[in-house]
């Protein structure tokens, strides 16, 4: 860091230290240096938010009041949007707040994004884990149905699923991410567009190209393993096949939806 840059860096930090909370300057500088060590430029760091988080981590009461005033309502709202129903949303929000407060998770904030986005990712991850845990609890009736369900996945179907999984792995990572967000996670094109910074129309065209590419790849792999058989009759329902392929990868036995 040049002398001029260091001076401006210190001035910027001092300005924040002078303005609020009785926070040790050296402690904050250390946090900034840690964040800079990730390769993020100082101009990209959310210094105010990092300052607030650092003050909270040192137990500054006024800082916790500010954090609570600015962000706790957002945590509850965002948890409700993530979990979609009240009881798990309340659990998620309270767990996130308890983690920040009691388990010192606020110390992990590095200022690489705004505190609000960071909190949003923490809430989303917690909600996603909570929803998955709930989904694993299968009601007794359904469990019984599954145990007595006849084997519906024939060997050809299983082989096809393995081929689909291989073809999926062979795709470029950005194409695979788009396909899986759409088919596996059920994200809409608008949601994916907001994440990847692309328009709905562009994503739709791209998705069509990836589907065609994947179909062609699956067919060519199938044809290689089906000498003399009429592989043109293989009907590829891509969405269903991807679900089976993903289940295969996870080591789960795919269950046919009723």
């Amino acid at each position: 860091m040049s002398a001029e840059r260091t001076a401006s860096f210190r001035a910027e930090i001092l300005e924040r230290v002078r303005l609020r909370f009785a926070l040790d300057l050296a402690g904050f500088e250390d946090r900034v240096r840690e964040a800079l060590a990730t390769g993020t430029g100082i101009e990209r760091l959310a210094l105010d938010d990092l300052y607030l988080a650092t003050a909270c981590a040192t137990g500054e009461e006024a800082a916790w009041e500010e954090l609570s005033r600015k962000h706790f309502a957002f945590i509850r709202d965002f948890a409700l949007r993530c979990a979609r129903t009240d009881p798990p949303a309340g659990d998620v929000a309270e767990r996130v707040i308890a983690d920040l407060w009691q388990r010192g998770k606020i110390r992990q904030f590095a200022g690489r994004s705004t505190l609000r986005t960071w909190l949003g990712t923490v809430v989303a991850h917690t909600a996603s884990n909570a929803l998955e845990a709930r989904a694993r609890i299968v009601p007794l009736e359904r469990a019984r149905d599954r145990s007595t369900e006849p084997e519906t996945e024939g060997p050809d179907r299983r082989a096809l699923a393995r081929i689909a999984a291989e073809a999926l792995r062979a795709l470029p990572h950005d194409a695979r991410l788009l396909l899986l967000l759409y088919y596996e996670q059920g994200s809409t094109l608008e949601e994916i567009g907001a994440l990847l910074g692309a328009s709905k129309a562009a994503l739709s065209r791209r998705l069509a190209r990836i589907r065609a590419l994947l179909r062609a790849d699956i067919l060519s792999r199938v044809s290689a393993g089906m000498e003399g058989r009429d592989f043109a009759r293989v009907n590829i329902d891509l969405a269903a096949l991807l679900a089976v392929a993903q289940a295969e990868e996870k080591g789960e036995r795919p269950v046919k939806e009723k």
Partner: protein
């Protein structure tokens, strides 16, 4: 939050979501997301929540009622000052209807008070320089299908709802602008409206500010 080995932490994911990662790290995060179902699920949950309408809460109605009182008071005050400045050309005060999450964002704003001027549509002019001048004078502008009002020196997207608590990205450096426009080209014409612009896009508020001293 549990992470599989090698998962990006919430800091990297947050920076990814705000478009602040350099291309190599961005590619590494996307590579991981394409292989890790747990992280992908969290990302999809985040995206779904960001795009979802705000849950209805009692506080919204209280805020709407407060805005109604404030708007009425401001309107009456502006109208009752004989030697005061003219009412602003744009309607800066958000009406309760406009502030309400139940209101469609495309609906035209209602004037702030009884004496406030009616909202005028953005002028349709051919010459871009003339258009810029005209839009500044009128206090309204339509860019890329979005309508902006000039409020307190800031071009503000009419879709912006201060009560919505959407994540906000502040963009002040030329580098940030360049990166952002590479990802979301639709924002570029909006940002060119002026030094200070506030745009809502994909459930995120982008606040364009002039570079600091």
């Amino acid at each position: 939050m549990t992470h599989a080995a090698g998962s990006p932490d919430a800091n990297a994911l947050g920076a990814y979501l705000e478009g602040k990662l350099e291309p190599p790290e961005r590619a590494a995060v996307e590579e991981h997301l394409s292989r890790c179902r747990e992280c992908r699920s969290a990302l999809a949950t985040f995206a779904r929540a960001r795009e979802a309408p705000r849950p209805a809460r009692m506080i919204s109605w209280l805020a709407a009622a407060a805005a109604l009182v404030l708007a009425t008071a401001l309107g009456v005050r502006v109208a009752s000052r004989p030697d005061g400045p003219a009412a602003p050309a744009s309607p800066p005060a958000r009406t309760p209807e406009a502030a309400s999450p139940m209101k469609a964002p495309s609906d035209p704003p209602v004037p702030a008070g009884p004496e406030a001027p009616a909202a005028r549509p953005a002028p349709a002019v051919e010459d871009p320089a003339r258009e810029s001048l005209e839009t500044r004078r009128s206090g309204h502008a339509t860019v890329g299908g979005k309508t902006f009002d000039l409020i307190a020196g800031r071009w503000t997207d009419r879709d912006f709802d201060p009560d919505a608590d959407l994540p906000t990205v502040t963009v002040s450096t030329a580098l940030d602008r360049k990166d952002l426009f590479a990802r979301i080209p639709e924002l570029a014409p909006c940002a060119r409206l002026g030094d200070r612009v506030l745009v809502v896009h994909g459930g995120t508020v982008y606040r364009f500010e002039p570079p600091g001293p």
